[in-house]
Each structure stands twice: as C-alpha cells, then as structure tokens.
C-alpha cells in the first residue's frame, strides 16, 4: 500500500456549486474518486491510496495534467485505487470534475 498526496494552486475555481461527487468503483483495474468542494477556490489537493507501489512519478504527472486541463480550484480529491492504468485514472478524474460542474 502506498499513500501519495499532491497539492496544486489553480488559476480559477472549478465551476458549479455541487458540494461533492463520487465516481468509479474500487475493483481490479479501476478506481473510486471522491471529490469535495472544501478548499480555498485556488487550491486543489489529491490524496491517493494505491495497492501498487513505485508509480509516484506517473501519478504526479497524471494529476498535474488533470489540474492543467480542468482547473479544479476548491476541490479535495480522494482516490481509492484498485490498480487502474494511468489512462483510466485520467478519464475518471475528468469525469469527476464534470460531475461537480453539473
């Protein structure tokens, strides 16, 4: 088990007013993402619990790209990973951000 946390500053808050959203499932090759609108509007934090160790740099890159694409200011994200591939993580994060905007 490995725990990783990444903090980013964003230029703007994520649109919408939805307080929280959850997407995905903790299953093999998948992941569960919880999003909560609890941080200052220019902050984003992503906390990851993953059973597979040694992929810190890949997580860091996936999260940084997601923050640049979605500008999720104000959102704390908790990821419960089931060994998902980076593309699945990336898609799930984008889906989570869209749910919060909706």
């Amino acid at each position: 088990m490995e725990s990783l946390t990444f903090r980013h500053t964003t230029k703007k808050p994520l649109p919408g007013a939805k307080p929280q959203a959850i997407t995905g499932v903790v299953a093999s090759g998948n992941l569960e993402v919880l999003l909560e609108r609890v941080l200052p509007p220019d902050a984003c934090e992503v906390a990851i619990e993953t059973p597979i160790t040694g992929y810190g740099p890949v997580w860091e890159a996936v999260v940084a790209d997601f923050v640049a694409r979605a500008e999720p200011g104000g959102i704390r994200i908790s990821i419960n990973d089931g060994g998902a591939r980076p593309d699945t993580v990336s898609l799930r994060l984008l889906q989570g951000a869209r749910l919060m905007e909706g």
Binding site: V58, P86, S90, L91, L94, Q95
Partner: protein
C-alpha cells in the same frame, strides 16, 4: 530431347500410389487410412500446403501428417497461411518438415518464436496473405495441398461451407500445376448444397473422424469493453470517420474497433452520420456489427471467412452478405484482401508496438504472431486509380511539394491503440522488438507489420495524431509522443512542440473534438453483452458455448 511431361507423370504416379487406399467407390478414403494415403502420395522435400486458415483448419489431415513415418516423409517445405494447431509445429520437431513460409501464427506465436530461436524451423519469410497467395503461383507452388471442406460427393465436388477462406486459391495453384489435392470433409453426401470446388480438381476425399476445427476469432464480448476503449472509439468516429466521410472500410479484430461498431447506432446516430459513413465493408461477419446492420447502417459486407455462430443470421440477411444459391455465406480470403487493398478508403486496427516514427509490429521477443492481412489492407496501394472523397482529402493533406494536378490520393491507415497493453506493457517504444528478433535469428528483413510511411493516423485515449500533416521527422516524432500518454515515450515529449502541433490540429484531444468525458460510458454501447447481440439479431446469432455466460 526435352521431357515436357515429367511433372505430370510424377503426379500420375502419386495418384496411382494413393489409389491403393481408396475405400471402394469414387475418391473417398477412410479417416483411418489417411496416414497411409499421405505416406503414399508425399515425397521427401515436397512443398505442402496444409490448409491452416485464419479460422478453418484441416485438422484431421494435420494429425495424419504428424503421424507419418519420418523415415518416409521428411524435409517437407510447408507453405500455409496459418500456423494455428499444435500439429502445424509438431511436424518440425520430428523432421517431417524443415522449411516454413507462412503469414499468421496467433495462437502458436510463443512456440514458433522458441522453435525459430532453436533452429528447428528454417524460415523463408513471414508474408502477408496476398503475398503468400501470389507466391503460390510463382515460386512456392505446392506439390500437395491438404484442404478442408464441410462435405463432398464421391466425385470430389466440394462444399467448403461459409468458411471458404483460402481454399479456392490453394486448389487453383496446386491442381493446375501438376499437384495433388486431398480434401478432408465432415461428411460424404450424394449431392452437395453448392459446388465451391469442382470435383475434377480434387484427387482424394478423406471422410474425417470429426468435424474440422474453426476458431471463433472475431467475437468480442461487449461485456469486456472498457471506458477507455469507448473514449478512443468516440474520437475515431468523430475525428476520422466523420471528418473524411469514410464509407468503404476494413476493421481489425481488436476491442477498439469492436467498440466503434457498437457506437455506430448510438453515438454515430446522434452525430447524424447514418448513411454517410461505414456503409461498405471488407470484414468478417463480426457479431458486434449486428446492431449497426439491424439499424440500417450497413449496405454490404464481403467476408474473408465466416464466424462461428453467425450462419443463420447471415442466411437471413442476403441483401447485406455475399451468399450462394444454397443461401449460405460465400467468403474468399484472396478476393476480400484485394477489396481491402484497392477498394477501401480506410484500414483501422490495433498493434502491439509503435516506434517513434510510426513503424508498427505485432512481433515481441517472446511471440511471433505474424501479420495475416493487416499489411495488405494497412498499406497505401500505389496501383489505385479511382478517386473518392476521403482518398483525395488525405492526398491533399499529405502533399507538400509537386504539381497539384498530378496529386494522387492516399488511403487512410489508422492505428487504434491504448497507450498501455496488458500488464502495463507500453505500446509506444523507442525501438521495435522485431529488430532484435531479426538480429537473433538472422532475418534479412525485420518483421514490421505496417511501415511508418503507410500510417496516416494514430488514435489513443490521449488524442489523435494526424501524421499526414507532419512536415518533417521531428514533427512526426513529437506528434507520436504527444498521444503516447504516460508511457516513457509519452513522458519524453517536448511540451512546447506538442502544444504547437495541437494548435495546428496535427494533434487533437477529446476536448478539441467536443467529446464529453462523461459520455465515455458503457451505457453508450448499443449492446453491453453477448446476450444483447443475440437479442439484436432476433435470436438468429448463436454464440459458441464459451461466450454464453447467462
């Protein structure tokens, strides 16, 4: 004085020797006598085509050949498209066979790699289908062909069944050049449903002990499709099919293209593309195409072979498929490959490895899968002389210099891949494993499936790279890195150059195409299970047992 009839006399002598094993009337030989028949007809060093197609397998004759006495039958040169059954390689372990020229070895890919490294097989070349068929008529004409059909009469008139596949081509080359043709059939009948091969081209008919084996190679369970595959399929439909107006096409056999098939009646319909794309196909009868056919998307399909469980459905849809007077499918691999090469505007399929220039290969260091037909359909045919809108548009995009009045079109060759394959193995690599394999076993030509200069687009979950718009090798490399995701190759990109390519539309992301990530959901699939496909077909599709999970 020259002897112009030596080969003919040798054939007659083989036939005489074989006739000792006939079971009474006509050309019929019992299954138990198959080994004796082969030992009588074959000569050391013969070129032999043991029909191993993509799907249909002459398995009874394969077992008989591997049971021959290596003291009598040895050093054969096998010339066959598919290395599929264990017996296809067993004969190389016993010395019955020595040399091999083939096309495809999917299920035996790992063992063939070991035997090549071990020197048990002298490899001629790994061919594309059309290339091997062409050589049947030039320098690889078989002395003996061992083929498979559903049934025959006592005179040898043969009904191949829906899986006609390679049979007409193999028989044509062998029979008309002094060769001997032996067919295994499931059943001897008084009258065949239709004559696929006239009896005078068949010398012996072996009544097989059990029906020939057919591999269900083209069935993809919608239940196993992932959201990433759905996202990639959406990008392909919106960014390529719609953009170029692709009506005539071939699909590979992967999950990505199967996802496209299942999105046509849903996502494609929503985009208003019905009738504008994907109407004419060179394709096996993919079960995942049933919803699109039933929704009126498809005008016609010509097939290389058939697919297990699709026979009743095909019989009920003669306006869509090529069928005989008996009602069953007539497939033909050589003709369908030719259609895929010359009459399709796009080939789209998957691969295992892509390098920085866009060369691709399905060969890895532990598996030699071969090519099958992908390089035929996945190549730009320089002999094409008829225009079409997609072909001309691609030609314009790719042309940088020269007189526009002399411009020719381009076929679209699209590689549809996820950036990581099974077990997080990266699809994008600095150097293809095929090069290392070629070095180790001393191949003059590295087994590259599709050369970079034929590839026009690469689609991954990260986006579409349009290689036609790249103007030099550096742009091309960055365009490929720019869709290579979180692989080493992808993370090694020059971010500024990739953004510049994106600004020019060389790279397009899902958001650039207006694709909503929440839509990349399994609910967008027209069928979510094999059972759904059965419902779509009105109960006509009969999936094989291994796909029945309800």
């Amino acid at each position: 004085m020259a002897d112009w009839r030596g080969d003919r006399q040798a054939r007659d002598a083989r036939l005489d020797a074989g006739r000792a094993h006939l079971a009474g009337r006509g050309k019929v030989v019992a299954a138990q006598a198959a080994v004796d028949l082969l030992e009588a007809v074959l000569r050391p060093g013969d070129r032999v085509c043991l029909e191993g197609d993509n799907q249909k397998q002459a398995d009874c004759l394969a077992r008989a050949l591997s049971a021959c006495d290596p003291g009598r039958v040895h050093d054969l040169h096998m010339v066959q498209s598919g290395i599929v059954l264990p017996e296809h390689l067993d004969v190389f372990e016993t010395g019955i066979a020595r040399r091999l020229d083939y096309s495809y070895s999917g299920p035996q890919g790992a063992r063939i790699a070991r035997m090549l490294y071990g020197g048990q097989i002298q490899l001629g070349a790994v061919h594309t289908y059309l290339e091997l068929f062409a050589r049947y008529f030039m320098d690889l004409t078989p002395n003996v062909a061992l083929i498979a059909g559903v049934c025959a009469d006592r005179d040898g008139n043969l009904y191949t069944g829906p899986n006609t596949e390679d049979t007409p081509t193999v028989v044509e080359a062998t029979h008309f050049k002094n060769g001997v043709v032996i067919a295994q059939v499931n059943e001897i009948v008084d009258r065949v449903p239709r004559v696929d091969i006239p009896g005078d081209r068949i010398d012996f008919v072996v009544a097989a002990d059990k029906p020939f084996y057919v591999e269900p190679l083209f069935t993809r369970d919608p239940g196993a499709m992932t959201e990433t595959q759905i996202l990639i399929a959406m990008m392909a439909i919106k960014g390529i099919y719609a953009e170029y107006g692709i009506r005539r096409l071939n699909h590979g056999i992967g999950f990505g293209t199967a996802a496209i098939e299942l999105l046509l009646p849903t996502y494609g319909e929503r985009l208003g593309l019905k009738g504008k794309i994907a109407t004419h196909w060179a394709l096996n009868p993919h079960p995942t195409l049933i919803p699109a056919i039933e929704s009126g998307w498809v005008e016609q399909i010509h097939c290389f072979g058939s697919e297990v469980g699709m026979d009743r459905y095909i019989r009920a849809r003669p306006d869509i498929f090529f069928t005989g007077s008996d009602g069953s499918l007539r497939s033909n691999r050589a003709f369908c490959q030719t259609a895929g090469l010359y009459a399709c505007d796009m080939f789209i399929g998957a691969t295992l490895q892509i390098d920085l220039m866009g060369h691709s290969s399905t060969v890895t260091q532990s598996r030699v899968a071969g090519f099958g037909g992908a390089p035929n359909m996945g190549s730009d045919p320089h002999g094409r002389r008829h225009p079409s809108d997609p072909w001309m548009k691609a030609g314009r995009e790719g042309q940088v210099v020269g007189d526009p009045a002399l411009m020719r079109g381009r076929k679209l060759v699209v590689q549809l891949v996820e950036t990581f394959g099974d077990k997080l193995v990266p699809t994008f690599v600095e150097r293809l494993d095929a090069l290392e394999l070629a070095r180790k076993i001393g191949l003059e030509l590295a087994p590259v499936m599709i050369y970079a200069d034929d590839v026009t687009h690469i689609v991954t979950e990260e986006g579409i790279a349009n290689l036609l718009l790249c103007r030099d090798a550096d742009e091309r490399e960055q365009a490929i890195r720019g869709v290579a995701g979180y692989t080493e190759v992808g993370r090694g990109r020059d971010r500024a150059k990739v953004e510049a390519l994106r600004a020019r539309g060389v790279i397009r992301r899902p958001e650039d195409l207006g694709i909503e990530p929440l839509d990349a959901d399994r609910s967008l699939l027209a069928a979510r299970s094999i059972k759904d496909l059965v419902h779509w077909s009105g109960g006509l599709y009969e999936p094989p047992a291994r796909f029945r999970n309800w």
